[in-house]
Symmetry: C2
């Protein structure tokens, strides 16, 4: 592949009409069409890279436009030179003074950089005939550290500390890889707990989840405390009842330690999607003490590390932890959350920070601070991405998957060539196809049908054909 160059790229605005059913809402995001700002990077050889960032509809075109501007800078570059120093490539993308001015390292320019960076990682993994997680887990500690984003975080972790941490995990990597391939990676479901659902529907979905082997459930809260308490108690009554728990689904006690689990081994989490100010969050959550959640997710603005620390401290006597990160925009934000003891769970997002390199850095910081990583997932493409990140965390970085649990939502996977999947114990299967890269390649048919605004679906919808087959297929699919 010597001399192979990046020759061109195409950017695609792909939107799935998840808004049509009217459900799938949380306290902040009341309407949304799950969307991908998607890039295909082409080379002078056969090799291609696919990458995307995720939005919830309008604004996806801004990300697409920004992706074009970022990608222009890499056309003509030598592919193996990029692969030879992915850390330098990340710096090339993020430290360009003029593009950096638009963030720095946050918002649209970071979302766009993530799409491009993820596509290059996808390309590298495919060129090495390994899924992304395997490519990175096979790195030596030195190679791993060379790929990370190091600027601005040395007061939290140094390269030397990272090397030490990775070296300590080297000898166990093979065994952990074998174990997770056999057992799968722990997952949880948000399917049951949307704000708009009737009690009847919540009940049905919780029972289905239990039957499928899930033992972690998430409830959206924040619109009305009485309502949340009632729905929370309903879910608790279902998951606490041994009769509802299949006998053949075994729960390792380690996986529920410190999570306010019931005797049946089931765990409840709640998610406010940033609706509260800090004092509001504290008062509201005290009222939800009876439902014993493991954590409150996104209680306030994602930037507010000081606020999260205050909430965590105030809720500690009530046995309620704090989780955030899906809207944390970069490693500096995660650094502060960790330095201030603001979180019990670190919820990285695969599309929001500037790509895999920065994620690796955050995994290292979380491991050093002893905080479990439970990535944000769902949407479109996020589950495909995040299983790779959780595997890297388990096999190469933290060495622990008992504390962790990766969000799973069963929708839109049919659009991907290598969709993620869940085993009979309610755990993620490990992606193993040597051609799948970062697992984000979409079927051309899906890309065409849902291209916005000129794909077949949207043209039909614009003509008033709202309740199409596609919409029926998507009914009940929702925002995370």
């Amino acid at each position: 592949m010597s001399g192979m160059k990046i020759t061109s790229f195409s950017v695609h605005d792909i939107r799935f009409p998840t808004n049509v059913t009217g459900d799938g809402t949380d306290a902040m995001n009341k309407e949304c069409d799950y969307s991908a700002a998607y890039i295909v990077i082409k080379t002078s050889g056969e090799l291609q890279g696919q990458g995307m960032t995720f939005t919830i509809g309008r604004g996806n075109e801004i990300c697409c436009f920004a992706i074009e501007q970022v990608a222009k800078r890499i056309v003509g570059m030598d592919v193996e030179t990029i692969f030879g120093d992915m850390g330098a490539f990340f710096e090339f993308l993020t430290m360009d003074p003029q593009h950096r001015w638009l963030g720095p390292e946050k918002g649209v320019i970071a979302l766009a950089t993530a799409a491009v960076s993820n596509a290059i990682w996808d390309m590298m993994a495919k060129s090495r005939k390994k899924p992304l997680w395997k490519l990175i887990c096979d790195f030596t500690p030195e190679e791993f550290v060379k790929c990370c984003a190091w600027k601005y975080i040395s007061d939290a972790i140094t390269k030397e500390e990272a090397l030490e941490l990775l070296r300590a995990k080297e000898s166990g990597k093979k065994a952990r890889e074998e174990e997770v391939i056999k057992r799968g990676y722990p997952a949880y479901t948000t399917s049951a707990g949307w704000l708009g659902y009737s009690d009847e529907k919540v009940k049905r979905l919780v029972l289905e989840g239990l039957a499928e082997g899930f033992n972690h459930f998430k409830l959206k809260v924040g619109a009305d405390p009485e309502d949340d308490l009632r729905r929370g108690l309903l879910i608790r009554s279902l998951i606490d009842d041994p009769a509802n728990r299949p006998k053949d689904k075994v729960i390792d006690p380690k996986t529920i330690a410190g999570k306010n689990a019931s005797a049946t081994g089931c765990v409840l989490m709640v998610d406010a999607n940033q609706v509260w100010d800090v004092p509001q969050a504290i008062e509201y959550m005290k009222k939800l003490e009876p439902i014993k959640p493991w954590f409150i997710e996104e209680p306030t603005a994602p930037d507010d590390c000081v606020g999260h620390a205050a909430i965590r401290k105030a809720l500690k006597p009530y046995g309620i932890g704090v989780a955030t990160g899906e809207h944390s925009h970069n490693r500096m934000n995660f650094k502060q959350l960790l330095q201030l003891d603001a979180i019990d769970v670190c919820q990285i997002d695969s599309c929001r920070t500037s790509g895999v390199n920065e994620i690796l850095t955050i995994l290292l910081m979380a491991a050093k601070f002893g905080v479990p990583v439970c990535p944000h997932s769902g949407g479109v493409g996020l589950c495909e991405y995040t299983i790779h990140l959780s595997l890297i965390d388990y096999i190469a970085v933290s060495g622990d998957m008992d504390r962790n649990v990766l969000e799973f939502v069963d929708h839109l996977h049919e659009n991907f060539l290598y969709p993620c999947s869940i085993n009979a114990d309610g755990r993620y299967n490990v992606p193993l196809n040597p051609n799948e890269g970062y697992s984000i390649e979409m079927y051309p048919k899906s890309m065409e049908e849902f291209a916005f605004p000129n794909g077949a679906y949207w043209v039909k919808a614009a003509r008033g054909g709202a309740a199409t087959e596609a919409q029926h297929r998507l009914a009940g699919q929702a925002v995370h």
Copy 2:
């Protein structure tokens, strides 16, 4: 004006070729063409609003594209309904779930929102026949508070506290307005201290600054400590020498209290433009103790409130303060800087947070925490904008301009209908034209000549006509 609607808008990518001279560089931004992503909002009447956000070149087209998407949402709205509740309008702009996803409230979507929001404020001020500062200073405390951005900050300041603070300043407003109109608002110059300048040029520019009445000078640092120390000592030797200080320029001792001023009343500041990690910043700045700077500006990543707090604490024994804010993306970031005692000086930017409403909130928080506000300025249009913000701070909020000082750079003002200006004491004149709004209206000729890429200047430059008249005019103009 009853019934007047917003009917349309135009967006303009305007770039000034400030990069051609090769100077005007700092440790982070080594190339830049000062650029405006500019919007003109039109109504069904005569009234128009002008607004812009600022970038340093490439990427300006992303902001322009985003401004179009944000502005689309306001076409058809009733003008007086907007003016009647500017707080609700700000919420309409920033709390749209789909656009919010792209930040939230940061990066390109915030830069674009600032341009649109600023244009509406400009429009409102023009409709009331007052410059923006006067419009807002004439608000009652209740009207002022109604315009602010309140979400996510009640752990730092409540509406009630803000009302109390504003009411306490009511009786002195008239006297302060008269005083500042008479004396002007304190300014400082960054013109002398660019990294790329020879010692000879630095010396000439410092002496010129002293002659013009300036007594605050800023030096860019961060490339090499030996070099910075030498240049800093050179500047100190010039500003500390009474012979260089014009006898007729009187300095009020209050304006230099706590600023490491020399016996001549001159103050030196240094600016690193985010080049360091936290431990690096501390070590580097200890070496610059001999030049006795008032503060180090932007020592590290703008998001890192914890890091700034650590740097401030470490440098306190050396008598060096910390300033930041020009890249702080929203009120939550400023809130944390204040809560963590991380800054001695709060450097708001007129284009980076989501517009005037959010600035008002930050002014209130800074006043409550007792931190002086010294806006970031320079670039293109920033000085025109920021004098309004400093006047609001002085007249209506903090009631203090002795501690403050507003950045001034003498370039690109000729492109504006109502350019800012400096009086004989080196202080900003107060904008007084009842038609100038937020003072950001550009001459059509400038907008045409520097439109990118099809304006006359850029067409000529693309044909190889690099050293045009415009470039010569711009020679020596630089990045802030």
